[in-house]
Symmetry: C4
Subunit: 272 residues, 4 copies
Amino acid sequence: MNSLKSKLYEIIFEADTKSGKWFDIILIVLILLSIIIVMMESDSRILSHAGTWITLIEWGVTILFTIEYLLRIWILEKPGKYIFSFYGIIDLLAILPSFIGLFFSGTQMLIVLRSLRLLRIFRVLKLTRYVKEATILWEALASGRNKIGVFLFVVLILITILGTIMYLIESPVNNGFRSIPESIYWAVVTLTTVGYGDIAPVTTLGKFVAGVIMITGYAIIAVPTGIVTSELAKEFTRKTPTNTQICSQCFKDNHEDDALYCKHCGGSLKNE
Amino acid sequence: MNSLKSKLYEIIFEADTKSGKWFDIILIVLILLSIIIVMMESDSRILSHAGTWITLIEWGVTILFTIEYLLRIWILEKPGKYIFSFYGIIDLLAILPSFIGLFFSGTQMLIVLRSLRLLRIFRVLKLTRYVKEATILWEALASGRNKIGVFLFVVLILITILGTIMYLIESPVNNGFRSIPESIYWAVVTLTTVGYGDIAPVTTLGKFVAGVIMITGYAIIAVPTGIVTSELAKEFTRKTPTNTQICSQCFKDNHEDDALYCKHCGGSLKNE
Amino acid sequence: MNSLKSKLYEIIFEADTKSGKWFDIILIVLILLSIIIVMMESDSRILSHAGTWITLIEWGVTILFTIEYLLRIWILEKPGKYIFSFYGIIDLLAILPSFIGLFFSGTQMLIVLRSLRLLRIFRVLKLTRYVKEATILWEALASGRNKIGVFLFVVLILITILGTIMYLIESPVNNGFRSIPESIYWAVVTLTTVGYGDIAPVTTLGKFVAGVIMITGYAIIAVPTGIVTSELAKEFTRKTPTNTQICSQCFKDNHEDDALYCKHCGGSLKNE
Amino acid sequence: MNSLKSKLYEIIFEADTKSGKWFDIILIVLILLSIIIVMMESDSRILSHAGTWITLIEWGVTILFTIEYLLRIWILEKPGKYIFSFYGIIDLLAILPSFIGLFFSGTQMLIVLRSLRLLRIFRVLKLTRYVKEATILWEALASGRNKIGVFLFVVLILITILGTIMYLIESPVNNGFRSIPESIYWAVVTLTTVGYGDIAPVTTLGKFVAGVIMITGYAIIAVPTGIVTSELAKEFTRKTPTNTQICSQCFKDNHEDDALYCKHCGGSLKNE
């Protein structure tokens, strides 16, 4: 019994063994399948054509997820920690809606519940822990966190003021600038250069101010890029050329990766 | 009396003590509340439903702001300097509109006046003086000021010429390019990649020229980013390797990592 | 015979001789001409006016391409390798449609087939092998491949979740958010700051969430730029300070500027 | 006579003397005024209200420009070189239209002619020769010219292929993708993230492909930014920290700007 448990533990919780890797891959495929099913269910045209197939696959995935969930609880010695963890709750939320759907029949309610299954996508993210690059990116963003925060705060103030100015200019003649919040929404759409065009200035003064805002936004968009680039450059230089080789004769470091001899004194670096 | 004044001074004007910090936090909350009220007032739908509540909160905030304003004047020995300072005028403009509103009743006029309260948002900015990151960002932008200015000037010339060319091409058939200023507005919207779509070329030649403008803009958008990134990188490297070495003779710091002698007095840094 | 073959080989397959360069230039012009013809053919207005000219030029180009294709096969000793290579198939696909068009007359089918000729544009790319800059850009992108991949993966997850959230908020009242896939399409359009405006939020909550998404996208757009810039900067610095020093003992180059001894064999670099 | 000529030469052609600077400033103001007049003339609403004023200012500016042009020719010993130079032709084109307008009365023709006056804006650019920053920016862009060129070439190929793919997918049902050139226009609008929305995919497959194009464009937009940033960073580091101070005792350089003593040997840097 215990050997079965420990074997299952290896498969489900570890990713180093061959069977563990296969389990991870199958899990990712199943999660992606379940997400595609949720997406297709939301489209009434697809639902009317392939409703039976969707129901079938949905229940197949739900049952497999339920087995996986129960196995995880059975294997672990202290299942409580898992059940109330972030991933534990997500795993439960991924299977509950289908069972609740058996008893209730409110459409809108069910769509919201089923959408919760999408959260399982985070599992895919967790399974990619072997990708080292993510760490570098994350550290760069984390170390630039404060600066990006300050920047976003300034942008928020700017957007509030610009939105109010445009509201004062445009609201008398333009239906799109009905209230300050809507004008702020317009300012966000404009400053981020998204520019839907659902709200656009119509007065000459409004167009002039909008033009000034856009050109300002042009310079502003440079700031987060500058922050992230600087942080990434720092992160890269810290990681990349650190060659730990030290010359055994002059004890100087900072040698290139392909160096065989010390560039300072000519001593051999081989016998390291 | 004086001890009360000095205690109030500590609370209102300083941020180091515990009560000073609490005062700052309450002030920020009140300012944000008053801004939300101004925003809600601008929306006629909200105003018709929750008008009484909005008036109530508005007067509550106004009274608290008035007390704060009078206290600031009373505490200071030379209140004139504060009253005519940037923040002093903003603080006054934040409370005046409500009192003026008692005597006047022109809607449009009142909205403009009430919007002035939004300017108090700058106080929040001032209260964040403890955020050191803002200084780094600001210095980077300030040192790149000239270059960004030159760049914006070139963009302005470009936009004028491009707008005129598109006016000549499109104006005969396209209502959106009625005049050169409107064509320049279109050029701004396009070159900044906002792209509302309220004005868009319809002739084949116009579309071709627009395409060339967009691809040009693609390369141009890189320039401010390049400037800010380079300045930020400089700023970071200047700040980062702050060597903790302090000269034992002149006690100045900020030495480079490879410095062996103090660059200020020539004293040796070795015996540290 | 053999001397004719080897001369033709020089002209068609090599770019170093004068006649080889001329052949390349004429080929590029012909390819661009054939592409312009395909484009004009797709426009029914142009087709109705200048149909005869287009057919004439089309057949002229097709015959020249056919001659070139047959020559390539005839010259090469082992033509099989060329015929089944990427460029061989493209060259065949560029001439086949015109001949197939003689027997079939389905309009839509023919357009698809003729569009295949556009693939010959890759030949132009191949002929620009003398541009060294492409290599640097390509290496920078290739070395940042993993990081950009991780980033795009995170963006995909983000887009899925944001699309679903907006679907839940907007679908009851907004026809543009009919299904989750369409909402995801909207999220892509918004997060990349394209912003067509064909789908836009109409509810207050939807606009608020959209605003948050845009400001997030503002910070996110910085990441790929940061990656590419850092990689390019690395690539440049690796290429730039190519010290012209060559070791007098092992004749290897690529030494650092401050190197005194060869890092490959330990020989002194001083006496250069 | 000669002394008058040489004095006028100083004023008109040189910018170092006080009167020369004033001449430059007045010229810039006049050029900007003439540009504003051209813009206002293009707007039929403004023209009908303030037509007389516009005509008056237009003739005033034209006469001043004519005097300036004639003076330039009179002063120079070899006026031919100026007359046929870039700026000479622009100066002539700026005054000719008004005189031609006396004899002709075709509206559209006159607008085109008058727009030529906008080209005088380049004079403003020339007068800003004292701005050193422009040189740095220009050199950075110039040294990255080849790389940006290669990049734009790849983007052009990409846009052609993407436009054709979207044409094949959308043209049967979408009026916006009538021909390949229009689809390519759409691809430019999308890839540069302008996104007017005048042409947008309507089929599910079209939306999917458009989404892939946008996310690709997301990564592509990073490349020119990366190029410019790297070049600017190189340009900055080359210009900025070059302190020409060399220690008089150990002859080492690369001292910081505020260094008073050599950081290598402690020798004084003052007596330089």
